[in-house]
Amino acid sequence: MQPILSLENISYSYHNLKGETPALSKISFQVTEGEFLAFVGPSGCGKSTLLSIIAGLLEPESGSLSFDTASTVGYMLQHDHLFEWRTIYQNVLLGLELNKNMTKENIDFVVQLLQDYGLYAFKDKKPSELSGGMRQRAALIRTMAIRPDLLLLDEPFSALDFQTRMTVSADIGNIIRNTGKTAILITHDLSEAITLADRVIVLSKRPATTKYELPIHYDIERTSPLSIRNTDVYQTYFNLLWKELSDDLSEPKTQN
């Protein structure tokens, strides 16, 4: 299949007067249409920088990024950042409003999304009146409203409590899978990456580089996160990734 996004030797450094902090070093990977790709890595390794480059918020210092300029990117942040001065309905329409795309068709699409994800009854409520899981779903609808060809998920569940996180990540995973969206997820939670993604890429510590790649495949349907967690292959994947990550973490110790 034709990749919809491909990165080649992308490097990026942050600069300030005290010096240069390399964040990404020669990252290369491709994403095919409909694929769900997950990145895991130690905290502060430059994962968010990678998404910012893909979203076009940052310019890479070297390397090339090929992505169809006509396609849209949807970006989901760690916190829902729903605006308290707007109702849920006004919040989810924000993207259309900014793109001056408030056509009847688009609005109907958003209303349909609200109904599908069980938020229609809450559309006139303020964000603070909703639970954490509902807010995150509203944030997803806000992202989906602009019909992105590529979804970027920057630790979107890390601000939720454990129970909500399990259900919401399963919900959102199913939504993305059912709509056939291409998605890139960034997380520090290995089980989240293994249950949701088709492929997991392990990044090294800063400056991040692609260290290990693991295709994920289950014989069962991925509808419930619990049934996946109970499979043997889940355990194998988990151990493989854990080993890769802990190698990286123990490296500085051996150096000392």
């Binding site: 918020l57 970006y75 950042h81």
Partner: protein, 295 residues
């Protein structure tokens, strides 16, 4: 609240008892607030009536009320208050609009704010009453000067605090706007302004007070109407009286020129009576001169 700890003997529910105690508490607070004011007024009145303080320098509540009543009767009270109120409101509205507009501009053009920052700090810390005489020279002695004086007191602080508030808005919110395809202008109008509404409101509360201060300063120096004018008029009338006292005192001092100096005790009592009036230095000067001559 003590009453919460005591079990009510009536058959009120806990909620009703709570509301009752809550009301009692608020009534007590209001009572003591009023009591302080009343005690102060009574003490003031008593001290002047009993002669502990001089009514000429300290006035008294009844004298103030009488004067106020007189001013209401000849409607000068409403004229002066109305003028000051109008000037304050106009300068407040201008400060709000100007402050908001400039703070938005500074946020939008961050290099502009870097360039202008030291100027804003200097202008904000400049004593505005020092500017007032210049304003009179530039703009005359009308309402224009007074409104500009009001603006000058409030506008720079308003810009600084609004701009600081704008900069404290979470960067992630701005990132959200950018990821949804918005521009920096969208971020300004959809995020910065709506999220700063509480800040803008509290800034307005501060501004109305500062504008009043500026307007009064302006009226001190350049007005024939308004509360500031009344204050300065009052103090000038007072100093005229003081001058008259001093003139009388000088005339008492003059006779000794014929060769019989008065005792210094008389002079010192006169001095203490005159207080801090402006005519003191010339008086002392004349005394010195007189001593030099007679020595």
């Amino acid at each position: 609240m003590i009453s919460l700890n005591q079990k009510p003997k009536t058959d009120l529910t806990n909620q009703e008892a709570f509301i009752l105690a809550h009301r009692k508490h608020h009534h007590r607070i209001a009572f003591f607030r009023l009591l302080i004011l009343l005690l102060f007024l009574l003490l003031w009145e008593y001290a002047t009536q009993a002669g502990y303080i001089d009514i000429f320098f300290f006035s008294s509540p009844t004298a103030v009320m009488k004067y106020l009543y007189q001013m209401i009767l000849d409607s000068s009270f409403f004229r002066h208050t109305g003028i000051t109120l109008l000037e304050t409101v106009v300068s407040f509205l201008l400060v709000t609009v100007l402050g908001l507009f400039i703070a938005m501009l500074l946020w939008y053009q961050s290099s502009l704010s870097e360039i202008l920052e030291p100027y804003l700090v200097v202008l904000n810390s400049l004593p505005k009453s020092a500017l007032a005489p210049l304003l009179i020279v530039w703009l005359g002695t009308g309402s224009k000067t007074i409104i500009v004086a009001g603006i000058s007191v409030a506008v720079f602080g308003s810009i600084i605090s609004l701009y600081t508030g704008f900069c404290q808005v979470d960067d992630e919110l701005l990132k959200l706007i950018l990821t949804l395809g918005g521009t920096k202008k969208d971020a300004l109008f959809k995020v910065i302004l709506p999220s700063s509404v509480p800040l803008i409101l509290s800034n307005m509360k501060v501004n109305i007070g500062l504008c009043l201060v500026g307007v009064i300063i302006g009226e001190f120096l350049a007005a024939r109407r308004g509360l500031g004018y009344l204050i300065i008029y009052g103090s000038q009338v007072f100093s005229q009286k003081a001058s008259v006292t001093n003139v009388k005192r000088i005339s008492k001092d003059v006779p000794p020129l014929d060769g019989t100096p008065r005792s210094s005790t008389v002079r010192s009592t006169n001095l203490s009576h005159a207080g801090e009036s402006q005519s003191d230095p010339p008086c002392a000067f004349i005394n010195c001169l007189y001593r030099l001559i007679t020595a």
